[in-house]
């Protein structure tokens, strides 16, 4: 089983790489384009995949991945189980702040087929924060893109004084939900 290692490669100068994992190709594409529209002084690479592990034949050209975003579509059980299966292929060192969950479509409660609790629990299990967003709405999409970019800068080490680990523990306390920890 090939796992994705967090520190297996050297970082590239003045660039950061984000990996979006999710089954909905259209949402991924939209989010990627929104992220790239934000003005940046560093080079952003976006890799899209519908599940992990990534194909090994491209290993040598892929740069070091700084942040993995798992996109869970709350309206599709298939998307949830796909993410669950993909998480196994991620190296443990990633979960020290370099993973984040993005739950989409949670706003329309009547169409939800996964419980919100299930996603929160999953994120808690993997010590990673969850962001909720409706990607169809452009404003929310832009806000989400900005948030992810900020996280990416921290994870890639472009913010002095903040490390990925300290940031993620900060996020955790802001969510303030420790009931799942027990």
């Amino acid at each position: 089983m090939s796992t994705l290692a967090a520190f297996g490669k050297l970082p590239t100068l003045n660039s950061a790489t984000i990996l979006l994992v999710g089954t909905n190709e259209i949402f991924q594409q939209q989010l990627a384009e929104t992220i790239l529209q934000e003005k940046q002084d560093l080079k952003i690479n976006i890799h899209l995949a519908d599940s992990l592990p990534l194909p090994p034949e491209r290993d040598h050209i892929r740069p070091r991945i700084d942040l993995i975003v798992f996109m869970v579509n709350m309206q599709s059980k298939h998307s949830y189980s796909n993410i669950e299966a993909s998480l196994v292929h991620v190296d443990a060192s990633f979960f020290l702040g370099k993973v984040c969950f993005l739950a989409t479509g949670a706003g329309r409660l009547n169409q939800i087929s996964i419980e919100v609790n299930a996603v929160l629990k999953l994120a808690d299990l993997y010590c990673s924060p969850v962001l909720f967003c409706e990607l169809e709405c452009e404003k929310i999409r832009i806000a989400t893109a900005q948030r992810l970019l900020r996280m990416l800068r921290i994870c890639a080490g472009h913010m002095s004084g903040v490390s990925a680990l300290s940031f993620s523990s900060l996020m955790k306390s802001s969510i303030g939900d420790s009931s799942f920890l027990a």
Binding site: L19, G22, T23, N24, E25, I26, Q29, A32, E33, L36, K43, I44, N45, I46, H47, L48, A49, D50, S51, L54, P55, R58, R62, N73, S76, K77, H78, S79, S113
Partner: protein, 347 residues
């Protein structure tokens, strides 16, 4: 012209949309050129219908003419009805008789009239080579109810019949008998194929759809490639190969042409619930009954886009892909075909 006919014509005219009125009245062919021109199509529909009825009165129109207009209307708006496909079969010994429409009509009428006097039977042939038969049913003591007729569409030399049923269930047997007698077949059975779109049903049973699969059409391929190339170089698709495989599998299952229109697919499960014996629930041999219905304005197109949209894994279950080749959209899954009983994707 009696009152029933007049009222029926009036109501049929009221149903026709204004834009189609001129064309339909011309196709109907009851009025002369001068009469057609004298009708004012731009007045209130209620007045228009009365004018049409008055002209019919002058021309001495009968229930036959009225039924004809109804057929023309329903032929144009055939997607408003639900059509069921039936297949007729011959016994081995039966001879092939040369088909002709006059015999067909006579035999059909004779067979129905033998048992039921009060029926209105109307035939009309259209350019697409289909014969439309409209039957308004009555009982021994009641005149035929013109408002709830059965429509039958038949193409000569084919074993398939498309029927849009009226509410009278007991007339079905009579209709089948008449059809078998008229078309020289010995048995008829339902094909479990139903849709609103009559033309799609024809495409499926006459296998016109298969031609789309065989003819290679490079157009959509080029479009697909060009959209991929338009992508920003900073966005890297990690699973291009996988997507390509999904597309290929999809093409094998559904073809790359346009798909016939169906509104639903139904699966009746009658399988035994399987669980580990130590759990001790539902472990008897009683089948676990359940009905799964997939519905959509264009079901096959929806199924086709399930895998590319990431809502299901490719390949899809054979139960979902065999709708067109099997010409069926309601299935019964029993224990014997246990290989068939699982693998329905989440929706």
């Amino acid at each position: 012209m009696d009152e029933i006919v007049a009222e029926y014509i009036r109501r049929t005219v009221l149903r026709i949309p204004r834009s189609e009125m001129g064309r339909m009245l011309t196709t109907w062919g009851v009025f002369s050129e001068n009469q057609l021109q004298s009708i004012n199509l731009h007045q209130i529909k209620d007045k228009l219908s009365q004018e049409v009825v008055q002209l019919c009165e002058e021309n001495g129109a009968t229930i036959k003419h009225a039924a004809n207009l109804d057929i023309i209307y329903n032929y144009t708006y055939r997607d408003k009805k639900v059509w069921t496909v039936y297949k007729m079969t011959k016994e081995d010994g039966d001879e092939n008789v040369v088909f002709n429409w006059v015999d067909f009509k006579n035999r059909f009428k004779a067979s129905l009239r033998l048992l039921l006097k009060n029926v209105t039977i109307t035939f009309k042939k259209f350019e697409d080579n289909s014969m439309w038969i409209r039957i308004a049913w009555g009982t021994q003591f009641k005149k035929p109810n013109q408002y709830k007729p059965t429509y039958v569409v038949y193409h000569s030399q084919t074993p398939y019949v498309f029927i849009s049923h009226s509410i009278f269930k007991n007339c079905r047997v009579l209709l089948f008998q008449a059809l078998l007698a008229a078309a020289n077949y010995s048995d008829i059975h339902e094909m479990d194929l139903r849709s609103r779109c009559l033309d799609s049903l024809k495409d499926i049973v006459f296998k016109r759809y298969n031609q789309n699969v065989e003819t290679f059409n490079p157009q959509p391929l080029q479009e697909r490639n060009s959209t991929l190339e338009n992508v920003d170089p900073r966005i890297i698709q990690e699973d291009k190969n996988k997507k390509e495989t999904i597309r290929k599998i999809n093409e094998e299952d559904f073809g790359n042409g346009s798909l016939p229109k169906l509104q639903y697919a139904q699966y009746k499960l009658e399988t035994v619930f399987k669980s580990k014996p130590e759990m001790g629930i539902l472990n008897d041999k009683e089948p676990f009954r359940c009905l799964v219905t997939f519905s959509s304005p264009h079901l096959l197109e929806a199924l086709k886009s399930l895998a590319p949209a990431g809502l299901a894994t490719a390949p899809l279950s054979r139960l979902l892909t065999c709708i067109v080749p099997e010409a069926k959209n309601s299935f019964k899954i029993t224990e014997k075909k246990s290989g068939f009983s699982h693998g329905l994707p989440d929706q």
